[in-house]
């Protein structure tokens, strides 16, 4: 197990390194945008560029970049936006918004998704199951931005329940009712898809477990249906469902670009889009690595969590 984890993590960093290198080269091949005249910051940015060796050969630049990242965790400074501010600091400042919105949506989605999934698995092939399954197909297919439009139109404009955009931190504190309320539209739009996905997954897993032999045995030895379902079926189904939930939790760092854009949430996604818009390559580079890392890490954690949740699954063994 330990060996397997070490190997996976090593491979992850190798992949990350390759992707980082490719991105760096591709970005450096683009023409470097001039710095907008913004007073004293210009000199700071120019000094930073000099330090990073912007007029030296590509390989030297990459070496300097790696050195500053690995040794000082310095991803450069903002050149076109957040002038002369440290890229990583800005990213950390934006992260809480993205994480909070997605955390709320997952906390809303998990109980609902599991509930609907268990319900429709228990009622398999009855009309309740058909209704849930039909709704799941609809909700899983419709893109999340369509929900966002519906939620925005219905709840923000017509009914006026929620404000249009997320409250700024100047007005309310982060974990307050006002902030939660202003995040609700985004949370709702994000949740529908997750609920549907989780419902489908839970239903499929649980209905498979429910028909297996050990369930028959459990009933034969005298357990009620509820006991058997709770103690045997659910626990076994969770072996597959839990890693998915864990994966969702890692994924909340990445967030959803389009939802952040629609509800103008000042999160990481918006930062990324802005950096593309104004061609700020330092931000672009850092965020690319950030997104890639999250993708890779969630893959590893999902795989490893299988082994922790169910010791019968031996990691790294050849199939």
């Amino acid at each position: 197990m330990g060996k397997y984890i070490v190997k996976r993590i090593f491979l992850m960093f190798l992949t990350l390194f390759i992707i980082m290198t490719m991105c760096f080269i591709l970005i450096k091949m683009l023409p470097l945008p001039a710095i907008r005249e913004m007073g004293r910051d210009v000199n700071l940015i120019l000094a930073k560029r000099e330090q990073m060796g912007y007029n030296k050969p590509l390989l030297v630049q990459y070496f300097l970049f790696l050195k500053s990242v690995v040794l000082y965790w310095d991803w450069g400074v903002g050149e076109q936006m957040y002038e002369a501010l440290n890229v990583w600091d800005v990213l950390l400042q934006k992260l809480p918004y993205t994480v909070t919105v997605n955390l709320y949506s997952i906390l809303l989605a998990i109980p609902l998704g599991l509930g609907f999934g268990i319900y429709s698995a228990l009622k398999k092939n009855k009309w309740q199951d058909h209704i849930v399954s039909t709704l799941v197909v609809v909700f899983i297919s419709v893109p999340s931005y369509v929900y966002a439009f519906i939620v925005q139109y219905l709840f923000c404009y017509k009914l006026g329940w929620f404000p249009l955009t997320v409250e700024s931190l100047d007005n309310v504190s982060f974990f307050s009712l006002g902030m939660a309320r202003s995040m609700m539209p985004a949370v709702l739009s994000l949740s529908f898809g997750v609920i549907a996905g989780l419902t489908r997954y839970t239903r499929a897993e649980l209905s498979e477990v429910l028909t297996s032999d050990f369930m028959l045995l459990a009933r034969t030895k005298g357990l009620t249906k509820a006991q058997a379902t709770y103690h045997h079926a659910l626990r076994n189904a969770m072996v597959v469902i839990l890693p998915m939930i864990i994966g969702e939790f890692i994924g909340i760092m990445g967030g959803s670009l389009i939802i952040e854009k629609i509800f103008s949430i000042p999160g990481v996604g918006n930062l990324y889009l802005n950096s593309i818009g104004v061609r700020d390559y330092n931000f672009f580079m850092a965020l690319t690595v950030f997104y890639t890392f999250i993708g890779l890490a969630s893959g590893i954690i999902i795989d490893i969590s299988y082994g922790f949740i169910d010791p019968r699954i031996r990691m790294g063994s050849r199939k």
């Binding site: 992949t15 990350l16 390759i18 992707i19 490719m22 991105c23 591709l26 970005i27 091949m29 683009l30 197909v137 609809v138 899983i140 297919s141 419709v142 893109p143 931005y145 369509v146 439009f149 925005q152 139109y153 404009y157 489908r200 239903r203 499929a204 670009l257 389009i258 854009k261 629609i262 990324y272 889009l273 593309i276 818009g277 061609r279 672009f284 690319t288 997104y291 890639t292 993708g295 890779l296």
Partner: protein, 514 residues
């Protein structure tokens, strides 16, 4: 030995050849053979939701293909006056549904303004007064059903001498009044009413920021406020005249229908009729127009056509690249497999949005937006296809029939394409079909986020249309409604279709929702 039969001896002559005079062979099958695809089709046909989804997909595909050719409008068509008009269907409009009208709450001034538009032309902008109410401050409010097409009213147009002549000829030949008299209060500094072109009646206040409140006569009618002249043929106008324009009481005061300026004539036209004169068809926008005055119906079809084109190309290219790559990986295995798997792992780990952005930055200026988007989709898109094919190859390559074919001397190519592929083809086709909705969805997101710029005069995409409408969601939801509905129906249909296809090709997987 006791039960041994006693065989009597037969004379030689009794023996003869059976079927001596007829050919013996298998009777040809009366029924048609059921092959793999026929078998799949038989199963697919039983899946009702998949069949409905197929019909829907074909319908949407035909919509995207045909509409741009038969529509009156094009994507580059923009009308400066019919911006954000509401959806209207000529057949259903008389029934009061889908008629391009919506309920507006207006004060007395607004009511006057909209009511006045129909008086001259006989085509009322206010279809119905739903209710009136007086609020606490004593202000009267009207709830009106206003036709968004008619409420544009009149506009000033600058015509050359020739155009003015032709417009008059058109009026003479059709008997339709297009040009209406200019008014006394004619000023260009009006903020409201198409630079004042709609104020043909006497106003209580004719300042630049007038509210359009009318001076009414004792019967509650508008008092016309036309510019008059003693010269009947002023500005060379010899065509139709308004009713009541008969020279006035002294027989010598005629309304003025045009005013000479540097380039020709300035005239006031009824925009509805003028549109018909210019374009030779009625202004009817089935799905309404957006903020640029583009026809949403046509744009949607054009955008969908673009999406389908992109998605189908991506799907085909991925099918070939992924199929070949996966086949080599899966068939040869070992070191080749591990190396190739590493490469595709790296490619699959790059977030797609990064790939798309980089391709746009590097290639959009050189090879065009669409081609660079296609490259981006192809660069990482084939990986999942390759993984599927690889799985299928691992499943089949150790089976006995492959061994026997190899023993009979079949080479690698023959084994791959003749013996393994046909077995895996169902899974591969399903995967290829299911890349189509994914590509359409991703493309709409990229163009919505403005990472891909489709904003040229003749190209549009569903994402661009959604982005254009987002700021107007509260006031004009129809701009977003139709593209959003289109993509939702498309996604649902493709999901059901894909499920049906998978069940049909792989009956053993039926019901496993994955």
């Amino acid at each position: 030995m006791n039960n041994e039969m006693k065989i009597p001896s037969f004379p030689k002559e009794k023996f003869g050849f059976a079927n001596k005079n007829e050919r013996i062979h298998d009777v040809k099958f009366e029924t048609k053979p059921i092959g793999y695809f026929k078998d799949a089709w038989l199963r697919f046909r039983k899946n009702k939701s998949a069949v409905v989804a197929t019909v829907l997909i074909i319908f949407l595909l035909l919509f995207a293909l045909i509409v741009p050719f038969v529509s009156n409008y094009t994507v580059s068509f923009r009308d400066g006056y019919y911006k954000t008009v509401l959806p209207k269907n000529a057949t259903l409009a008389p029934l009061g549904i889908w008629n391009g009208a919506k309920v507006q709450r207006e004060t007395q001034a607004g009511y006057d303004y909209y009511r006045s538009i129909g008086v001259e032309t006989g085509r009322p902008a206010v279809l119905e007064v739903k209710s009136q109410s007086v609020d606490a401050n004593g202000i009267r409010y009207y709830s009106l059903v206003v036709d968004s097409y008619i409420k544009v009213g009149y506009t000033y147009v600058n015509l050359t001498e020739d155009e003015f002549r032709r417009l008059q000829d058109y009026q003479d030949s059709t008997g339709i009044q297009v040009i209406y008299p200019l008014q006394k209060t004619y000023r260009t500094n009006y903020v409201m009413g198409n630079m004042g072109a709609n104020f043909w009646y006497l106003l209580q206040d004719d300042g630049a920021t007038t509210n359009g409140l009318a001076v009414l006569d004792e019967n509650g009618n508008f008092i016309p406020n036309y510019l008059t002249t003693a010269n009947k043929q002023q500005a060379d106008y010899t065509s139709l005249r308004l009713q009541g324009d008969n020279g006035g009481e002294d027989g010598n005061t005629w309304f003025v229908y045009g005013q000479r300026n540097q380039s020709g004539y300035k005239a006031r036209v009824d925009y509805y009729e003028y549109f018909k004169y210019k374009n030779n068809f009625e202004p009817v926008f089935l799905f309404g127009t957006n903020i640029y005055g583009q026809d949403i119906f046509t744009c949607l079809a054009a955008g969908a056509r673009l999406s389908f084109l992109l998605a189908i190309s991506v799907s085909l290219i991925n099918f070939f690249i992924g199929g070949l790559y996966g086949a080599i990986e899966g068939y040869y295995g070992g070191a080749i497999d591990i190396t190739m798997e590493r490469i595709s792992d790296v490619l699959a780990s790059v977030p797609f949005i990064v790939v798309a952005t980089l391709f746009q930055m590097h290639l959009a200026d050189k090879v065009g937006v669409l081609v660079s988007l296609l490259f981006a989709f192809v660069l990482t898109g084939w990986v999942s296809m390759a993984a599927r094919v690889r799985m299928q190859f691992y499943r089949f390559k150790r089976q006995e029939y492959i061994l026997s074919a190899r023993t009979l001397g079949a080479n690698d190519r023959r084994l791959i394409f003749k013996h393994i592929y046909p077995n895996a083809i169902g899974t591969i086709i399903t995967a290829a079909v299911l890349t189509i909705p994914g590509v359409i969805f991703t493309e709409s997101i990229l163009s919505y986020l403005n990472i891909v710029h489709f904003e040229t005069s003749s190209l549009t995409s569903i994402g661009t249309m959604l982005a254009n409408g987002q700021g107007y969601l509260s006031t004009f939801p129809h701009i977003i409604l139709f593209p959003a509905m289109f993509i939702s129906i498309l996604m649902i249909s493709f999901n059901l279709f894909g499920n049906g296809l998978r069940d049909a090709f792989n009956p053993s997987l039926r019901g496993a929702d994955e």
